[in-house]
Symmetry: C2
């Protein structure tokens, strides 16, 4: 019975890692759609949002069935509850990738990101990507070194968001209010994607150490 429990839990965690990697790809594609003004890629991210939601719902359902049938206690219980929380993080990250793709699609054929801020948005996307990769590694292997890295990447993301806002608020800004608003929202979306990666990482750290890292 216990053996079967761990087997099923392992499969749920494998799927969680797989969906995390799938979400990471969505965020990457959304960024390409944004920076290359690539509408077909934007459409692909938007429609993949539904598939990811289905995959995530399935993981949630299986975690609930496992909870109900095997009635784990202590750490095993916390592990399953953490899984349910991470499922919610993945749902939100996928929705945020869809938001990014929708801005790319709405602004096309115009570029949503004017040249002066392309490096900044590129950096935010890269840090976000690294953060999801770290979260995936942590969930897969309880790699606590990646957790420390994730906190550093989170600081980097915050700095990039502040840099972006400084550019938008500069009196030299000449790309209009509409572009500034889209960029402010894009900055917020990437920051939130990173926040959810941090939240996933912290859930695992908490499971392993019993201590929630101070954010």
């Amino acid at each position: 019975m216990r053996h079967q429990y761990y087997e099923q839990l392992d499969r749920i965690i494998d799927d969680l890692v797989r969906v995390t990697d799938r979400v990471r790809r969505s965020v990457g594609e959304a960024t390409s759609a944004l920076l290359d003004t690539d509408v077909p890629t934007a459409e692909r991210v938007i429609s993949a949002g539904g598939d990811i939601e289905t995959a995530v719902d399935e993981i949630e359902e299986r975690a609930l069935v496992l909870l109900a049938t095997q009635q784990p206690v202590a750490t095993d219980l916390r592990q399953l509850v953490a899984t349910l929380r991470m499922v919610a993080d993945l749902q939100r990250m996928s929705a945020l990738a869809v938001h990014v793709a929708k801005i790319a699609r709405r602004r096309a054929p115009e570029a949503a990101v004017p040249s002066p801020v392309r490096p900044l948005i590129g950096d935010m996307a890269r840090v976000g990507d690294a953060m999801i990769a770290s979260a995936s590694r942590i969930v897969a292997g309880r790699d606590l070194d990646a957790a420390a890295e994730l906190e550093l990447e989170d600081d980097r993301m915050d700095r990039l968001r502040r840099d972006l806002f400084r550019v938008l608020l500069d009196s030299d800004w000449e790309h209009g209010v509409d572009t500034a608003i889209d960029l402010a929202l894009l900055g917020r979306y990437y920051e939130r994607i990173g926040d959810h990666a941090v939240s996933m990482g912290r859930r695992v750290v908490f499971l392993v150490t019993g201590e929630m890292p101070v954010g």
Copy 2:
């Protein structure tokens, strides 16, 4: 044993309703701070964020203990898992109220919301308030009429967000890029507060009917 279980579950739900009402007050105060450029009130919302987090953590902990010790199955299990998900919604709503308060504090003594958009922001805040009130009623009494209302309020919130963006993007906009960005973020924050209220409502509807309403 079962009797004790329901007693504890009822207490958890009472506390969930109490924290929902506390979050509702925070959102209301954040709006006052914003519209009246009232820094002390903004500070109060920001520091209340920590108290709400503590209250929410306590509910989560008690739900976990109940899960572990009473090992509910079927509907009882789903109820507890829904509670854990609602706890996450409340955390986010409280964080969003703090974001609103921080914009009010940062812009003071200048008003963050210029006169032409005050009615719109006021309406968003009012709809958001009604949505949290509906969520609270649904959680407290499984009032499914309030759930239908919540979906209508959600549509209203979406329309208000679109109206707000139309004003910000109008070529007559004369309040600068910085104000437009803050307002775009404020619009997003109120919209997300509403989304979390909808998500709480839907969790209860799902418990009662077994069907997730189509969003």
